[in-house]
C-alpha cells in the first residue's frame, strides 16, 4: 500500500482523491497541515488558483516542508495550478511578470492563461512521453515556455492560435502537467506517476 498525499488547501483535490481511491494499492490522504505529510510516499498538487494555493502554502509553513521532502526525492505531480507552483519562473499572458509565491522546485518557465480566458478553455488529446496519448482538460491552462536541465519538456500541444507549446515536463522525481487528467479521468497518468515511488 502506498500513501499518496493530495494537497487539499484549495482547488479540485477531491477529484484527485477520488481517482486515486480507484487505483489498487493506493491510499490517498488529504494534506492540509505539516503533520499530514507524515509517511506519504508521493504528493499531488491539484488544480485550483495558483495564487491562492501559494499564499496558503506559505502562510502556514507547509512550503518549507514540501521543498525539504522534494529535495529528499519525494515524487510530486502538479496539475495546472500545481504545475505553476512547481515552476521556477512564472508570468501571465496579459498581466506579465507575477510576483506570486511558487515552490521553485522545477527548472521550467510557465506562462499563465496562455490560451486565453475561460471561453478559450478546451479539451484535447496530447501525447506525453512515457504515458502516451492523454485526454486532458485545459482550463485557463498555463503553458511551459521553456525548461533547462535537469528539467525537460515531455509533451507539447499544437494549438491553432498560439502554436506549439509545452504541456508536460519532468525533472527527476517531479512531473508537471498544465492540464487536468483528474477532470477527464486519465488513470494512465497516475499509474506512470506512481512508478516514481521507489520501493
Amino acid at each position: 500500500m502506498v500513501k499518496v498525499g493530495v494537497l487539499a488547501l484549495q482547488g479540485d483535490f477531491l477529484e484527485h482523491i477520488q481517482i486515486l481511491r480507484e487505483i489498487e494499492g493506493v491510499e490517498p490522504v488529504a494534506v492540509k497541515r505539516i503533520d499530514d505529510l507524515k509517511g506519504v510516499d508521493a504528493l499531488v498538487i491539484p488544480g485550483g488558483e495558483s495564487t491562492t494555493i501559494g499564499l496558503l502554502l506559505s502562510s502556514r509553513g507547509l512550503d518549507t516542508k514540501v521543498v525539504e521532502l522534494a529535495e529528499k526525492g519525494l515524487p510530486i505531480m502538479g496539475t495546472c495550478a500545481g504545475a505553476i507552483l512547481l515552476a521556477a519562473k512564472v508570468a501571465d499572458r496579459v498581466v506579465g511578470e507575477t510576483n506570486q509565491f511558487t515552490l521553485k522546485l522545477m527548472n521550467i518557465e510557465v506562462v499563465r492563461n496562455i490560451f486565453g480566458r475561460q471561453r478559450d478553455s478546451f479539451i484535447s488529446t496530447v501525447r506525453v512521453e512515457n504515458i502516451g496519448l492523454v485526454k486532458g482538460a485545459f482550463i485557463r491552462a498555463p503553458g511551459i515556455k521553456s525548461a533547462w536541465p535537469p528539467a525537460r519538456v515531455t509533451g507539447y500541444i499544437n494549438h491553432p492560435s498560439i502554436g506549439e507549446i509545452g504541456v508536460a515536463a519532468e525533472q527527476n522525481n517531479m512531473l508537471a502537467l498544465t492540464f487536468h487528467p483528474e477532470i477527464t479521468g486519465e488513470k494512465g497518468v497516475y499509474k506512470y506517476f506512481l512508478s516514481f515511488i521507489k520501493r
Binding site: 492540509k32 488558483e49 496558503l56 495550478a81 498581466v95 479539451i123 484535447s124 485557463r140
Partner: protein, 335 residues
C-alpha cells in the same frame, strides 16, 4: 413522422456511433491525435468551476479592490457596479456593471473575473461572454427582467452560476444549464442567517432523496420530481450522489471569517463574499482572514487566528432581515 421512421433514425444513430468508435480506434492505432480542440463543452465548464472549490470569490467594484482581492488569496472576483448593500440603499434599477470597468479589472489581475447579469436578460449575458468574462452570475441582486424564465445557459460557452434557496430551485437552474449553484441568502445585509437557512433546506431535501434512494424507493423520488417541477433524472442523480450534482457555494450575508467557516461546515464548496469585505473598514486583513477560515474551517485554532485578524468594530453594520419589507427581499426574485 411514422414510428418506423424513428426506428430507422435510431438505427442510423447507432451505426454512426459505432463507425465513429471504429474510426477513433483506427486513428489511435496509427498513433495520431484523436480529439481536436473543443471549447465550451459542459465538461470544460464544470471542470472550471471545480477549480474554485475551497476558495473565496469576492465582490469588487473597481481595479483597486480587485487587486486587494487577488493579493488576499481570492480564487476569483465578481465585478459589480455597486456592492449589494449599496444596491439596496440606492434603489432604482440595478443593471450589469460597466463593461469598461470589467475589462479594466481583467487587465490587472490573473485570477478569473465574473460579472452579474439580470435574471432573464440574455443580451447582458451575451455582452459579458463577448468581452471574455470567465463566469456569469444570473443574479437576483440586480433587477430581474424576466422572473418567469431564466436564461437558457446551455447555449453559452461561458459557465453560469445561479442562486437557489431550495433544492427544487437549484435543480431547475441546473436543468437550464447552470454550471454552479450558490445559496441566495439575503444579499447586502451582512447577515448570514438566510444563507444558513437556505443551505440547510437544500441539505435536508438531499438527505431525504438520499434516504429514498438507499431504501430503493424510486417511486418517492419520482413523486418528488413531479411535485416540485424538477427533472426526474436530476432528482435521481442528486439522490445517488448524496449532494448537489454541481459545485455549490454559499452567498448572501457572509461578513466575517466565522461566517465563512460556518457555511463550510454546512457543506458549502466555497463562499462568495459580497458587501462583507469592502463595506467593512478593514478590507485587506478581512479578505485574507476569510480565505484562511474557508480553507481551515475544520481547524478551530486557525479560525480563531483568522477571526482575530478582524475587528468586530470594523465589520459592516448589517441589516436584520426581519426589518426588511417583503418588497425589499431579493431572495424571492426568480424561483
Amino acid at each position: 413522422m411514422k414510428l418506423v421512421d424513428s426506428y430507422v433514425f435510431l438505427e442510423r444513430l447507432r451505426e454512426l456511433i459505432y463507425e465513429l468508435l471504429e474510426f477513433r480506434d483506427r486513428i489511435r492505432e496509427a498513433g495520431g491525435e484523436v480529439l481536436p480542440i473543443r471549447t465550451g463543452t459542459p465538461l470544460v465548464k464544470y471542470g472550471f468551476i471545480s477549480m474554485f472549490k475551497g476558495g473565496v470569490i469576492m465582490d469588487v467594484t473597481n481595479e483597486k479592490q480587485a487587486e486587494i482581492a487577488e493579493e488576499a488569496g481570492a480564487v476569483g472576483v465578481m465585478v459589480l457596479d455597486k456592492l449589494p448593500y449599496d444596491v439596496r440603499m440606492a434603489g432604482g434599477v440595478a443593471r450589469t456593471a460597466d463593461l469598461n470597468v470589467i475589462t479594466g479589472v481583467m487587465n490587472v489581475i490573473t485570477i478569473p473575473v465574473s460579472a452579474k447579469c439580470r435574471i432573464g436578460h440574455v443580451e447582458e449575458a451575451r455582452l459579458l461572454e463577448e468581452i471574455g468574462v470567465d463566469l456569469i452570475d444570473e443574479s437576483e441582486v440586480l433587477t430581474p427582467v424576466d422572473e418567469k424564465s431564466h436564461i437558457n445557459k446551455w447555449v453559452f460557452k461561458v459557465p453560469f452560476v445561479n442562486g437557489a434557496r431550495s433544492l427544487q430551485e437549484a435543480l431547475r437552474r441546473i436543468y437550464e444549464g447552470a454550471s454552479m449553484i450558490r445559496t441566495k441568502g439575503e444579499p447586502g445585509t451582512g447577515n448570514v442567517a438566510e444563507a444558513v437557512r437556505h443551505m440547510k433546506i437544500v441539505n435536508r431535501d438531499i438527505a431525504m432523496l438520499r434516504g429514498y434512494y438507499l431504501s430503493g424507493d424510486l417511486e418517492a423520488i419520482w413523486l418528488y420530481a413531479k411535485e416540485n417541477k424538477v427533472a426526474y433524472e436530476l432528482a435521481l442523480l442528486t439522490a445517488r450522489l448524496g449532494r448537489l450534482p454541481v459545485v455549490n457555494f454559499a452567498a448572501g450575508g457572509i461578513a466575517t471569517p466565522a461566517d465563512a467557516a460556518l457555511m463550510m461546515w454546512l457543506g458549502s464548496d466555497g463562499v462568495f463574499v459580497g458587501s462583507g469585505i469592502f463595506k467593512s473598514s478593514d478590507p485587506e486583513s478581512r479578505a485574507r482572514a476569510i480565505v484562511l477560515a474557508t480553507t481551515y474551517y475544520d481547524d478551530p485554532e486557525v479560525v480563531v487566528e483568522a477571526q482575530r485578524m478582524v475587528s468586530e468594530k470594523a465589520s459592516m453594520m448589517g441589516i436584520d432581515v426581519r426589518t426588511l419589507k417583503p418588497e425589499q427581499l431579493m431572495q424571492v426574485r426568480g424561483e
